[in-house]
């Protein structure tokens, strides 16, 4: 059984965001329906429980309703990651009928900041779409990618999510790949300040603030910290959580290739040529990640949360040039005022 697959159903997108990870040399191939159904059948064979449809922009993909009709009965949970600019009265029912939850990218608390990242006019469209989906009872959450453009607008982002009637707002740092490959990553101090503000405002507004940067959850979320420390106590020496690729998750690109992750596209296999079960068993990259925690160097290796966090291997490679490097964005073992 595998817990989660993130599937970029298409590489095509109607936007070109300043930090987008999708910057590749080759033309982006999208599979035909037969190939897509074959991939879904492999999910069934491997008992994949949750699939998150992402892209590119999934709503641009014309065959999406057919794909969803085939996929929906075969998985427990189906999620959508979208910029929401293409959500309309015409397709909102498809979203409601097929998806358990929708993650919408929202990169600021106002049009000026959001549009500077994602393009002119996108804020208005995205906010209108969130309003429409909330009105239709769709479970919506927002995700802000922290960049230099929006790092000072985090409080407004949380406030906006709250005012839109959402219960959760998420944020994560930009990973320096694709369009943001040559930008200087935010320092651990800068990230600390951003997450601190987010959690303070979240508590004030009774909003759940979450992050894919797990160390921030351990640091700022008291309940998470208690849970993690109990787990470590109960299961000493075991890898408990953190980067789960090759452990209980995997990523499929729009051409059917299984890559290590959206940010670190190391080839693990090709589902149009090899069954997922074989990729899962044989991929050297998956084996590396299953053993990575025991090989991490530097501050992460000494961190008491190593077995439940371990940082982001993609971030480590892209910033330090080594997948075994410590996560330079983490502040947990640093002093902060």
């Amino acid at each position: 059984m595998i817990k989660l697959c993130q599937w970029d159903i298409t590489g095509e997108c109607n936007l070109n965001c300043s930090y987008c990870r999708e910057k590749r040399t080759e033309k982006l191939t999208t599979l035909n329906l037969g190939q897509i159904f074959s991939i879904i059948d492999q999910f069934v064979d491997m008992e994949v429980r949750m699939v998150n449809i992402a892209g590119g922009e999934p709503l641009i993909f014309k065959e999406l309703p057919k794909v969803l009709s085939y996929l929906r009965p075969k998985v427990e949970t189906l999620g959508l990651t979208t910029n929401a600019t293409l959500v309309s009265n015409k397709n909102v029912n498809i979203i409601k009928d097929f998806f358990d939850g929708v993650q919408v990218s929202l990169d600021g608390g106002n049009a000026k900041i959001h549009d500077s990242v994602r393009g002119v006019g996108t804020f208005k469209k995205t906010v209108s779409a969130i309003e429409l989906m909330v009105k239709r009872g769709i479970n919506v959450m927002t995700m802000l990618t922290i960049t230099r453009q929006n790092k000072h607008d985090i409080a407004n982002y949380i406030k906006l999510a709250s005012s839109l009637g959402l219960k959760s707002a998420y944020l994560r740092r930009v990973i320096p790949s694709g369009n943001s490959r040559n930008t200087e990553p935010l320092s651990s101090s800068e990230l600390f300040s951003v997450f601190k503000i987010a959690h303070l405002i979240g508590r004030k507004l009774n909003m759940h603030v979450g992050s894919a940067d797990y160390f921030s959850q351990i640091y700022f979320d008291k309940n998470e910290k208690i849970k993690v420390e109990k787990n470590m106590q109960d299961h000493p020496g075991k890898v408990l959580s953190g980067c789960s690729i090759g452990i209980d998750a995997f990523y499929v690109a729009q051409n059917g290739q299984v890559l290590f992750c959206p940010y670190l596209p190391v080839f693990c296999g090709d589902m149009t040529k090899e069954h997922l079960s074989s990729i899962w068993e044989k991929s050297r990259m998956f084996k590396i990640n299953r053993n990575l925690r025991m090989n991490i160097e530097g501050k992460c290796s000494k961190c008491k949360y190593l077995m439940c966090c371990g940082g982001c291997p993609a971030y480590a490679f892209l910033t330090e040039g080594k997948i075994t490097a410590s996560d330079a964005g983490c502040w947990v073992n640093e002093q902060h005022p």
Binding site: Q6, T25, D248, L259, P265, F267, N291, T324
Partner: protein, 51 residues
Amino acid sequence: MEREKKDLLIMTVDDLKIGEDFQFLTDEQPEFLAVCGICSNCCYSDCIGGN
């Protein structure tokens, strides 16, 4: 709109230049025992490494 981009190539494991000192201590797949706040609250995060 299909985009043609310049930078990010599909990589191989060799590109990671994993040292010979990398230890493969287990061939088994660890079983995650903990589910963090990300997945217990969201499940649809763009980051599949977060849980």
